[in-house]
Each structure stands twice: as C-alpha cells, then as structure tokens.
Symmetry: C2
Subunit: 268 residues, 2 copies
C-alpha cells in the first residue's frame, strides 16, 4: 500500500513523518475516517466540512483547498487499486520546535491512507466507561482530533470487562457518545433520539445522515433512558451497528431492533 | 541535530516516524521534558518513574528497561555535543492498523530529541482558560500524554488575550494547573500550597522537588485563593516562574515574591 503525503505518494510502511511533527509530539491535529464505495467517497463534503470546522477551532491554518483534498482522496484510492475502501485522512499542524504556541510559518502535514473495508462488527455490547469522560463544554468535543486517549482507555476498559464498546459520559453524567460512534435510542413510543452536540457528542457524519433520513430528535440521554429503550444503535462513518447490551443488561429485547435493521440496510 | 530513535541515531529533520504510528494517528503515547546540566539529566529517575506509571495507565507495554533509556538520554546529549540542554523523550505505542485496540504484537516507538536550553521565560501573566478543562477523575490527568490539545487551546487563548500562560480548571471549577506548569501559591500567612493530583494537577517533577524542598501543603485551590495570595509561582521541569497576574489583576504586589525568588535560585 501507498499513502498520500503532502502531494506525493510513498510506501505506507516507510518513515514518513518527522519526529518533531506536532501530530506526533502533541496530538496537534485532526482526522477523518471515510468510507469509499464504487470509487466514491461517501459523504465526502461533510467530512471535509467537519475538518475545516475543526481546523478553525484549533487555529490550524494552511490546509490545501477542498478540491485538492478531494482529488488526493480519489488518487489514494486509485494508487492502491481500491474502489471499496476505508480512507483515513490525518492532518497535523506540522513540524516545529518545542513549545505549545505554533510558529507563524508552520505548514500542515496531510496524510491519506487507504485499506480494504473492514468486516462488519458484531452487535455492540457496551459498558459505561469510568476511565474517561467527555468535556461537553470544550470546543474540542466538536472536533475529531488526534487526542484519542480517552476513547482508547474506554475501549480497553470495555475489553477488560468482556465487552466490545464503551459509552462515554459527559461532565454532567449523561451519555455523550460511544468510543468509536454516536449513540441513538428508540424509545417505547418509537421516538428516535440522539444526544445533541452540546452534550459532548461528536458531530458524526453518519449521525447527520441518520438525522436527515428519518424523524429523530436531539435530546440529552441518561443511562436510565438507555435502560428503558426499545432498541439502540451506534453510527459512525463505516455504518450502523446495533447496541444490544449495556453493563451486562440487555437493551430492549437484547437483539437488533427493526429501526436499526432498516438503517443498516440503508447505510451499511 | 540528531535524534535517538529506537536504538539508533538519525537526522532530526528527516522523516523518522511511520504515518500509521499511533502517536501520530491517535496521540497514543507519553512524553517527558527534561533539563540536563553539566551532562547530567536532572531528576531523571523521577521522569522515568512517571513515564513507567503512565505506561501502566495506558497499558503501553514493551518499553526498554530504565537503564537503556538512561543510556539513550546520555548518548543523545553526547551525539549532539550538548552538556546543558532540554531533552524530550517521546514514547508512542507504535505503528498499527486502524482501530482503537492495539494489536498484541505492537512495539513502542521511542524518540529522544535534544536542544540547547531555552532562555528563561518572563514572569507569567495568566488568564483563566475557558476553552479547556482538566478531567480530574480521569487517570489520564496523572499522565504526561501526547493529548496536548486542551493545553494548546488554553495557551492560544492566553495569547489572544495578551497573556502568556493559562490556568486550567477542573470539572469542579477549581484550579488544576497551568498549560505548561504546576501552580503554587503563598498565602498571606506564608503557607505555600499547591493543588493535589486528585484535583487534576499533573504530578510534575519540579512540583515534587518543591514539595520535598520546603514546607508546603497540597490542597484544592480556587480562583479566589489566587486572587488573595501574597505571591504565586509556576513550576515545570525547566524551572520556577513567577505568576504575577491573573485575568488582568495583579497577584500580591504584581512582582515576583520572596519565596519565588528563593526557589528560582535553587531550581533555576
């Protein structure tokens, strides 16, 4: 495989990044994970929009224009001979001497990697993470940043508990999202709901697609809401995933529900 | 300059890190910034102890033994012809395919970079950061991780306000630390105090040195405590720095105080 790196392609397994790149030294950057099908990057413009919004929050300047990034995504698929793929675009602020304030003349690092689409995941069996929470008041909670340790810790905590996903709470103790996905519930009155971004939910692209595709409300969700839900599911750029259990207790029937199955048919 | 990279030395400006290194893709790692003087790494064993503690929290395995890391620090100074320096050791979990759970056979990336010691910073003029907070309940708040975006945002917020440092609050609204340092106050009764680690303060090595060097208590600190303090100072591995102003108001006399000056003589 080859990766795109600032306008050229290089071996994915060769050293590509300087050790003083702020992506490596400080997690100073953003990423997008995208699904490509039949050579087309799904919801590409939403991904690039979120990337641009995140760059504004970080004050990360010098990104190539969106047309150039779109072309780079297509070229990365082509160079790797992939039509169906998962693409990851990583953007860091670039290489710099030590210190938190980036220099004026810094230039971002843009990497795009492609891989065959992963097998679909089994239904999610989640725990409520205790090792990490989402700071819903921080503008960073609205960005897909390279600071992924809270999610990694939560995911490891799930693994240790025999589960395969973790829900992260916000500072008020309400549910913000899962470690690698947004959360939706279907309540006993068939109302579909997901936490608003103000609760610490990442503005996911698949979350946006679901919100556009069906009647769905955004409201704060508690563990109690999930415990009494008829069904629940998770969404990320790779698809829809049933959430069938939390902290050892089944959600609804403990099986993927009808709304979830319908969305899986539509979005994968 | 040359950097140490997993047992060898290479050009600091050449690509050294794979683009799929989890340090670059997820901020999945730790670092230590150390001061070297006369060829000796100050408080080296405390830095290596904190690194080991952080690795335990992250479940980051496969680190070289401490003797090897110590030798690598010394060799990095020697290779660069430096006796007085600032050293940065970065440890990431290593390269891996996408996904939050690291594979079993992953091997960490260890980088050490050296630079001449920076000029001492002017007295700190701080703001209270609103763009980021410290999650004092997370085990990550006790680790020096690569997830530095909250601190970067806080530092940028300070810059935009005409200040040069930022204080980060914890989820209870009390002071945890500064963006690049720990906080100490000297109250009107000459009692020196610093927030305990349970308040979200990083267990800094210079903080530890100050706690060992003088009578000092660990207690929760509020903005009000700082507003009424006789003096305040910041500590990090590079030294002691007076904190003379917060949110536009002088702290104490608005000049470096006697306790601060005494510690600066001892610790730089």
């Amino acid at each position: 495989m080859v990766i795109y790196l600032n306008g050229r392609f290089c071996d994915a397994e060769a050293p590509a990044i300087r050790a003083d790149d702020r992506g490596f030294t400080l997690g100073d950057g953003l990423f997008e994970t995208m699904r490509a099908a039949d050579g087309k990057v799904l919801r590409r413009d939403w991904h690039l929009e979120r990337l641009r919004d995140g760059a504004a929050v970080l004050g990360l300047t010098g990104l190539p224009p969106e047309g150039e990034l779109s072309d780079a995504l297509a070229a990365t698929l082509a160079e790797n001979g992939l039509a169906d793929a998962v693409l990851r675009m990583t953007v860091s602020r670039g290489a710099a001497a030590r210190g938190l304030l980036p220099p004026e003349d810094i230039s971002p690092t843009v990497v795009i990697a492609a891989a065959p689409p992963p097998p679909s995941l089994p239904p999610a069996i989640a725990i409520t993470a205790t090792s990490a929470c989402r700071d819903e008041a921080s503008p960073l909670s609205r960005c897909k940043t390279l600071n992924y340790l809270p999610n990694i810790l939560a995911r490891r905590e799930a693994e240790a508990a025999g589960a395969n996903e973790a829900l992260l709470l916000n500072t008020k103790g309400r549910i913000a999202e899962a470690a690698i996905a947004n959360l939706f519930i279907v309540d006993s009155g068939d109302v579909v709901a997901t936490p608003p971004v103000s609760e610490g939910a990442l503005p996911g692209t698949m979350r946006r697609a679901v919100l556009e595709a069906m009647a769905c409300i955004e409201r704060a969700l508690t563990i109690e809401d999930l415990a009494t839900a008829a069904e629940a599911f998770l969404s990320n750029s790779l698809g829809i995933r049933p959430l069938v259990s939390l902290d050892g207790k089944p959600i609804g029937t403990g099986e993927p529900g009808p709304v979830t199955k319908r969305l899986q048919k539509e979005f994968g």
